[in-house]
C-alpha cells in the first residue's frame, strides 16, 4: 500500500512538472545543473589558491544543509501549499484520506518522494558535474566522488530532518521551545569551544571517513525524523479554526492600490495566515544572506579593495525577488480566470504591488548590516542605489520568466538558463563596478530601473498572451 502510494505521488509530481513545460525541459534541468557544476569545477584550482579547500568543502556542505533545511520548511508548508494549489481532487496525499493508509504513511511517502526528487534534481547533478570535471582533468580526486556524493546527500537530509524536528517541537511545545532548542545547542557549542564543523557530522565524515561518523550522521537523520513522525498526529489533523473578517478592512486600508486593493489585500492575508506568517518572508531572505555573508567574509579577506556592503547589497537585491515568489505561492491564476473578470496581468500587477509594500524589508536589512559594520555614509548611499536597481531587475526577470508560478517554472531547463543568462552578467558587472567605483555602480544600478520597467511590461503582456493558466 505504502509503495503504491509512493509511486502515485512520484507520478503526480512528474505529471505536474512535465505537463507544465514538457517532459524534455523538466528532464534537462538536472543536466543543466550538472553543466554548471562542471564549469564551476574549473575555478576550483584558482579558488583553492585563495581559500583552503577544507573551508570550501565546509561551505559547500553547509550550503547543502541549509538547502535541505529550506526544502524542509517548504515541505511543511507544502502540505498546505499543495492542498490549495492542486485541490483535494488531484493531490494523492489528500485524496488518500479516504484510503486505508495512516497519516504517518502518507507523510513518510511524501517526505521520501521529496527527498528522491531533490536528490535527483539537485544533489546528484551537482556532484556528477564535479565528477565529470575531475574525471577529465584532475584524476587524483576521482576517489572523492562517491564520498562527496554521500556526504552532500547526508548534509541535505540532515538539514531536512532538523527542520522537521523543529517544526514538531514548534507544534507540540510552542514557538519559544522551537527557538530555544537550537539556540541552546549553538550556545553550548560556542561556550564549550566546539568547532562549528562538529555540528555538521556529514562534513566530519568527509574528513575522517570512519564508520562511527557515518553511523552518527545516519542516526542524526533518522532519529529526528522518527520523533517527528511519532508526534505527528495533532499537527496533521485538520484544524478548523474560525477567522475574523479582515479582507474588507484590509482592502479599504489599501485603497491607494485602487482597483488592485482586493487582490493585494488577499495576497497579504494569504501570506499572514499560512504557516509561518510574515516571518517566513524574512526567513527566506536571512537564510541565504547569512550563508553568502559567511562566504563573502572568507573571500573578501583576499580582495582588499572590496567593500562588503556593496557586494552584500547586490546579493540582497538578487535574492529579494523571493518576496514575489512568496506572494505567488498561495493561489492559481486559473482560479481567477475561471470565475472572475480579471486578466493574468491584473493578478500579476497585484502581486508586484504587494511586493512593493513588503520591499522596504530589504533596505532595512541593508541598513542593519551597515550599522552593525559601521560602514561609511558614502558606501551606504551607493549600496542603497545598488540595492534598488538589483531588486527591481531581479523582480522583473522573475516575473517575466516565472510568471505567476516562479517556484515551479524554475524547473524548466530553458527558464533556468535564461534566468541565469539575464541575472549573472548584470550581477557580475555590478560586482566589478563595486570593486572599482562606487559612483559607477550607483549609476549602473540607476540605469537598471528603466530596464526593469521594460521587462516588467513585457512580463504583463506575456502573462496575458499565455493560455497555460491551469495550475
Amino acid at each position: 500500500m505504502t509503495l503504491e502510494l509512493f509511486r502515485a505521488m512520484m507520478r503526480e509530481e512528474w505529471r505536474i512538472h512535465s505537463s507544465l513545460f514538457g517532459s524534455a525541459m523538466f528532464l534537462l534541468f538536472p543536466f543543466v545543473l550538472a553543466a554548471f557544476s562542471f564549469a564551476g569545477s574549473f575555478f576550483l584550482p584558482v579558488l583553492s589558491l585563495i581559500v583552503p579547500l577544507r573551508t570550501l568543502a565546509l561551505l559547500v556542505h553547509s550550503t547543502f544543509f541549509l538547502f535541505g533545511a529550506s526544502v524542509g520548511s517548504f515541505g511543511l508548508l507544502g502540505r498546505e501549499v499543495l492542498n490549495r494549489r492542486f485541490g483535494h481532487a488531484s493531490l494523492v496525499a489528500f485524496s488518500s484520506r479516504s484510503l486505508p493508509v495512516s497519516e504517518r504513511e502518507i507523510l513518510t511517502s511524501f517526505v521520501v518522494k521529496d527527498c528522491v526528487y531533490y536528490l535527483a534534481l539537485w544533489v546528484f547533478p551537482f556532484v556528477l558535474g564535479f565528477a565529470a570535471a575531475s574525471l577529465a582533468f584532475y584524476p587524483i580526486v576521482l576517489h572523492w566522488v562517491p564520498l562527496v556524493l554521500l556526504t552532500l546527500s547526508l548534509s541535505f537530509l540532515f538539514g531536512l530532518s532538523v527542520v522537521f524536528l523543529l517544526s514538531t517541537i514548534y507544534v507540540r511545545l510552542g514557538k519559544f521551545a522551537a527557538v530555544l532548542a537550537p539556540g541552546v545547542i549553538v550556545a553550548a557549542a560556542v561556550a564549550l569551544r566546539i568547532p562549528a564543523e562538529t555540528l555538521l557530522p556529514p562534513f566530519l565524515l568527509l574528513l575522517g571517513q570512519d564508520p562511527f561518523t557515518f553511523v552518527l550522521s545516519t542516526l542524526l537523520i533518522l532519529v529526528p525524523y522518527a520523533l517527528s513522525v511519532a508526534f505527528l498526529e495533532a499537527d496533521y489533523a485538520a484544524r478548523e479554526r474560525r477567522h475574523r473578517e479582515r479582507l474588507a478592512g484590509a482592502a479599504r486600508g489599501l485603497g491607494f492600490a485602487r482597483n488592485l486593493s482586493f487582490l493585494v489585500a488577499k495576497d497579504l492575508l494569504d501570506l499572514y495566515r499560512s504557516e509561518g506568517g510574515f516571518g517566513k518572508v524574512l526567513f527566506t531572505l536571512l537564510l541565504p544572506l547569512g550563508l553568502t555573508s559567511a562566504i563573502l567574509s572568507v573571500f573578501l579577506k583576499f580582495i582588499p579593495s572590496a567593500d562588503f556592503l556593496l557586494i552584500f547589497s547586490i546579493f540582497l537585491g538578487v535574492i529579494s525577488s523571493s518576496i514575489y515568489n512568496w506572494l505567488t505561492e498561495f493561489d492559481m491564476a486559473s482560479a481567477y480566470g475561471s470565475t472572475l473578470p480579471l486578466k493574468s496581468s491584473d493578478v500579476m500587477r497585484g502581486k508586484v504591488f504587494g511586493y512593493l509594500l513588503l520591499s522596504p524589508l530589504s533596505p532595512l536589512l541593508l541598513l542593519a548590516v551597515a550599522i552593525a559594520r559601521g560602514s561609511p555614509l558614502a558606501s551606504v548611499a551607493a549600496a542603497l542605489f545598488a540595492l534598488a536597481g538589483t531588486c527591481a531587475y531581479s523582480l522583473a526577470i522573475t516575473a517575466l520568466l516565472g510568471g505567476l508560478a516562479p517556484n515551479i517554472l524554475l524547473y524548466n531547463a530553458k527558464n533556468f538558463l535564461l534566468y541565469f543568462a539575464l541575472i549573472a552578467p548584470v550581477s557580475l558587472v555590478a560586482f566589478f563596478l563595486s570593486l572599482s567605483s562606487a559612483p559607477g555602480l550607483a549609476a549602473f544600478c540607476a540605469f537598471l530601473l528603466p530596464v526593469s520597467l521594460v521587462f516588467l511590461r513585457k512580463a504583463y503582456r506575456r502573462a496575458d498572451s499565455s493560455e497555460a493558466l491551469y495550475f
Binding site: A248, F262, R273, G337
Partner: protein, 242 residues
C-alpha cells in the same frame, strides 16, 4: 443589453484543439434569453472546453462565439464581468474565509456593499456555520455551495454552470434547482453542462448532446415530454444512432 431576438449565447463553428487532441470540432448553437440550456455528454466530450471558450479563458482555434453580444476571445474580461461561472473545479482562494471570498468577488466585480446578500446566500444554502472557516478547510459540498453563491452574487444575465450538483445533499439540490428555474423564469439564461441526465430532464428547457467534440443532437425537453420520450432514451438514441 440584447433584445428579445438576439441570442444570449451564439457559437458558430467553434473549434479547439490542443496539439493533436481535437477537444471541440466545429460546434454551432444558439441560446435565447430565458432558456435553461443543457449541454449533455460523456466525460471528455468537450463540455468544459466549450465553457472555457465561451467565457474567454481560452481562445478558439477556429470559429467564433458571442455572449451577450460580446466576443469572449476579444474581450474576455468584458464577458466575465457580465456572466457568472461555476467552473468544473472549484478552487476558491485557500486562506480566505467563505465570507471573505464572497466579499473578494464583490470587490473585484465592484458590487459595492453586499453584506446583506452574502448573509442571504449563507442562509439560503444553509452554511452559515462555515462563514468564518477558511476555504481550504471546507468540505467538497460546502465548496460547491460557495461557488454557487459566487456565481450568482451579481445576478448575472447569463450563468455558466459546469457540473455543479454532484456533492450536494438532496435538500440543497432541490433548492438550487428551484433557484435556477426561477432565474430563467425571470429572463436570465443558464448554460448547464452535465452528464447527469435525470437532473437535466427536470431542469432544462432545451438540450444538446455532445460526443467527441461534436453536437450530435438537439431537442426541446417539452417536445420529448409530448412524445413521452425519456431524456435517457433520447440520449441513447443519439449516441447509438451514429
Amino acid at each position: 443589453m440584447p433584445t428579445a431576438k438576439s441570442p444570449a449565447i451564439l457559437a458558430s463553428n467553434m473549434m479547439k484543439s490542443y496539439g493533436p487532441v481535437e477537444a471541440v470540432r466545429g460546434v454551432s448553437f444558439s441560446v435565447a434569453p430565458g432558456e435553461l440550456f443543457g449541454l449533455l455528454g460523456p466525460n471528455g466530450s468537450g463540455k468544459t472546453t466549450i465553457v472555457r471558450l465561451l467565457t474567454g479563458q481560452i481562445r478558439p482555434s477556429d470559429g467564433s462565439s458571442r455572449v451577450l453580444g460580446m466576443d469572449p476571445a476579444k474581450d474576455p474580461v468584458g464577458v466575465r464581468s457580465l456572466v457568472g461561472i461555476i467552473p468544473d473545479q472549484a478552487n476558491p482562494p485557500s486562506f480566505l474565509t467563505c465570507e471573505e471570498y464572497l466579499e473578494f468577488v464583490a470587490g473585484i466585480r465592484k458590487l459595492g456593499d453586499v453584506s446583506g446578500s452574502i448573509t442571504a446566500w449563507f442562509d439560503f444554502l444553509e452554511f452559515s456555520g462555515d462563514r468564518k472557516v477558511l476555504c481550504k478547510d471546507l468540505s467538497q459540498g460546502t465548496r460547491q455551495k460557495l461557488m454557487f453563491a459566487q456565481a450568482f452574487l451579481h445576478k448575472p444575465a447569463v450563468a455558466f454552470i459546469d457540473e455543479p450538483l454532484i456533492n450536494l445533499d438532496p435538500i440543497i439540490q432541490e433548492k438550487i434547482k428551484a433557484y435556477m428555474k426561477d432565474h430563467v423564469a425571470r429572463g436570465g439564461t443558464i448554460f448547464f453542462c452535465t452528464h447527469a441526465l435525470e437532473i437535466a430532464e427536470q431542469l432544462c428547457t432545451r438540450v444538446a448532446i455532445i460526443e467527441k467534440g461534436r453536437i450530435i443532437r438537439e431537442g426541446r425537453v417539452a417536445d420529448m415530454r409530448k412524445r413521452r420520450e425519456k431524456l435517457s432514451a433520447f440520449f441513447m438514441r443519439a449516441v447509438r444512432g451514429r
